[in-house]
């Protein structure tokens, strides 16, 4: 059986999670990629755990690892895209590199949890299908007897609704 990572490592990952995800999002601004990159970075970090001096500031190391993994994942993603979509993604990537992405903390997650709980059942189902099962709008439309455009609009509205809800409880920050 696999052993659980040591708790100092766990704490360390938790402390740097936002940093890695934020950087990954800027370096590879494509849907779902930041999560994969962060996961891969920490996996590689764990497999070479004994090499690192955990008493030092790990941000420079994690930044290098994130850049490396992000570049690899981005290349792989680009390879699967048709030319026009690839041009768009590369343009977005170029613009994103100079931007700042404010990252979320535990407080924001707690507030969002409350906001999700307040949603009606149909909206929660939509959230679950889209964000948990990665179901496409077309598939959701088939399952929920809706038009694909209506699903996209509903998702757009839901994101906006959740953003407002979080702002309401977390006035100084925005989602």
């Amino acid at each position: 059986m696999d052993s659980e990572p040591h708790s100092p490592i766990k704490e360390l990952i938790a402390a740097h999670d936002a940093f890695v995800r934020g950087l990954a999002l800027r370096l590879a601004p494509a849907p779902g990629l930041a999560e994969d990159i962060a996961q891969q970075v920490f996996l590689e970090f764990l497999t070479k755990e004994t090499r690192w001096d955990l008493s030092q500031d790990l941000k420079p190391l994690l930044a290098v690892m994130t850049r490396h993994v992000a570049r690899r994942c981005w290349r792989e993603r680009m390879r699967t895209l048709p030319e026009v979509q690839r041009e768009l993604a590369e343009h977005i990537c170029q613009l994103a590199e100079s931007r700042e992405v404010p990252w979320f903390g535990e407080e924001e997650k707690t507030v969002l949890r409350r906001c999700l709980d307040r949603l009606p059942t149909k909206s929660r189902r939509l959230i679950e299908l889209h964000y948990y099962l990665d179901t496409s709008s077309v598939e959701i439309a088939q399952q929920m007897n809706m038009q694909p455009d209506a699903v996209r609009r509903a998702l757009l509205r839901l994101r906006e609704q959740l953003r407002k809800c979080v702002r309401q409880f977390l006035p100084e920050k925005s989602v």
């Binding site: 059986m1 696999d2 052993s3 659980e4 990572p5 995800r21 999002l25 800027r26 601004p29 494509a30 849907p31 930041a34 999560e35 996961q39 920490f42 996996l43 764990l46 390879r79 048709p82 026009v84 979509q85 041009e87 768009l88 343009h91 977005i92 613009l95 994103a96 931007r99 992405v101 404010p102 990252w103 979320f104 924001e108 997650k109 969002l112 949890r113 999700l116 709980d117 059942t121 929660r124 189902r125 959230i127 679950e128 964000y131 948990y132 099962l133 990665d134 496409s136 709008s137 077309v138 996209r152 998702l155 757009l156 994101r159 959740l162 953003r163 989602v175």
Partner: protein, 456 residues
């Protein structure tokens, strides 16, 4: 007005980008909009960030912890307090009676769905084949019979040659425990939570209510299920999930990394094994071009019908063939190679090929674009009456040792062109432990190319 419609268009295009559903025209349009106003990239970044935040929280919500169960109790208490407030309001103001009545009814329906709805179908022992089944309840052993209701905390064990089925009527969910399995019903209060400590189960799970997935935990992994058919197998150091319908989120417990496993795919959670969804093994994709003259692979590659118009396609269990088809033909056999262990592998071609040519290519990943030739064999045509091949030309029967990782998949392709005589294709490998064998079918999964026409 124009600005507003532009805003609407930009929002719709950004939503399309976030869902990866933009077509070529929409992509070009969004690219043009970004060139006009590069600051719009902030909307994309905030959308990606929001999506990631929601995704993270939703994934956490799908797991029930004791803390969350207590939160649930708090929520119920809050709902009751709210009901009392409504009653007080009713006494004061008759005008709101109708509205409050409707609200109360809606609240009642919501609570009923939340607490008593179809979430928890009572699990019962629906079928048993064989006699060796035991039920442990509160540390006491009970002999279960058909129809025995199962409770949280119950542990079911099936002996060798015994199969048991747990039903959840009126739900269509059924879990079949195969011989030698130990299965614990951890909790049923808010979604179904089970432990599979050892053995194998097959499950057909009806759609579960929102945020209440069925969760199956093993010593190495966790499978979260909303509605699907799958098989879960546990041994002392690994858990394997095979999905035949729908999709399952599979999480490795040691590092919390997770992967979505779709239908006709499997994943393994174990140490020294990359967690990834792989196509179910046991077959390779073989394309056959019949009546194609020549005995050189170039005769196949340069033919007008190659690669997009094969005479037929089939899915044999491996590379090994001994077809003896009449006439000249060519084949392309494509698969994903699934190495069972980390280490160096050597690939070999058979020496007893009578004529024709075989070329074997391997990619460093699952992308055919990166394939490289690792070995090849070419025989000149036999003359009528020859008992053995005249000579072997440009042959490299063995590849160099190639490092492969267990859990990753590698694209492998064999091109085989055959002229006349006895034909045979076989690919052998030397595993890191030194065993030389034909690549077993459980280490091969059929290549699933896209429908686009390929270039030569």
């Amino acid at each position: 007005m124009n600005n507003r419609s532009d805003e609407g268009e930009t929002e719709a295009l950004i939503q399309g980008y976030l869902e990866s559903s933009l077509n070529e025209r929409e992509s070009t349009r969004l690219n043009a909009l970004l060139q006009q106003n590069p600051a719009k990239v902030d909307l994309i970044l905030s959308g990606l960030r929001d999506d990631l935040l929601i995704r993270t929280v939703v994934a956490e919500l799908m797991v029930v912890s004791p803390e969350q169960s207590s939160n649930h109790a708090v929520r119920l208490a809050e709902s009751l307090q709210w009901t009392q407030s409504i009653l007080r309001l009713l006494r004061k103001n008759a005008w709101t009676t109708a509205t409050v009545g409707v609200t109360a009814f809606a609240l009642f329906v919501f609570l009923w769905l939340w607490c008593l709805g179809p979430t928890v179908g009572t699990p019962v022992l629906a079928e048993v084949q064989g006699e060796g089944i035991s039920l442990e309840r509160s540390r006491q052993s009970i002999v279960p019979t058909l129809g025995t209701s199962l409770r949280a905390g119950d542990i079911l064990r099936t002996a060798e040659r015994t199969t048991a089925v747990i039903g959840f009527a009126p739900e269509a969910t059924r879990i079949t425990l195969l011989p030698g399995t130990e299965f614990t019903l951890r909790s049923l209060s808010r979604g179904k939570r089970f432990d599979l400590d050892l053995g194998k189960l097959e499950a057909s799970v009806a759609r579960q209510p929102p945020f209440r997935p069925m969760i199956l935990r093993t010593p190495q992994a966790e499978a979260r299920v909303i509605g699907t058919r799958f098989t879960l197998t546990v041994n002392s150091n690994a858990t394997r999930l095979d999905v035949t319908e729908g999709r399952v989120r599979f999480t490795r417990l040691s590092d919390s990394s997770s992967v979505r496993v779709d239908a006709d795919n499997f994943a393994v959670a174990a140490s020294n094994y990359v967690l990834a969804a792989q196509p179910l093994p046991g077959k390779v994709l073989r394309e056959i071009w019949l009546d194609l003259p020549g005995d050189n692979v170039l005769d196949l590659r340069n033919h007008a019908r190659f690669p997009n118009a094969p005479s037929e396609r089939d899915f044999p269990p491996g590379f090994e063939t001994n077809t003896n088809w009449p006439g000249a033909y060519g084949t392309r056999t494509r698969a994903y190679l699934l190495p069972p262990a980390n280490g160096h592998y050597e690939f070999r071609l058979p020496e007893n090929v009578r004529n024709g040519q075989i070329r074997l290519m391997l990619s460093p990943d699952d992308d055919p674009a990166g394939k490289l030739e690792i070995c090849q064999i070419a025989f000149t045509r036999n003359r009528p009456g020859d008992e053995s091949p005249r000579n072997i030309s440009r042959s490299q029967l063995e590849s160099a040792p190639i490092h492969l990782d267990a859990g990753r998949r590698y694209y492998i392709e064999a091109l085989h062109k055959f002229g006349t005589g006895e034909d045979r294709l076989a690919i052998l490998w030397k595993r890191p432990d030194g065993v030389i064998e034909p690549i077993p079918s459980e280490c091969l999964a059929p290549f699933k190319g896209n429908a686009k026409r390929e270039k030569r």
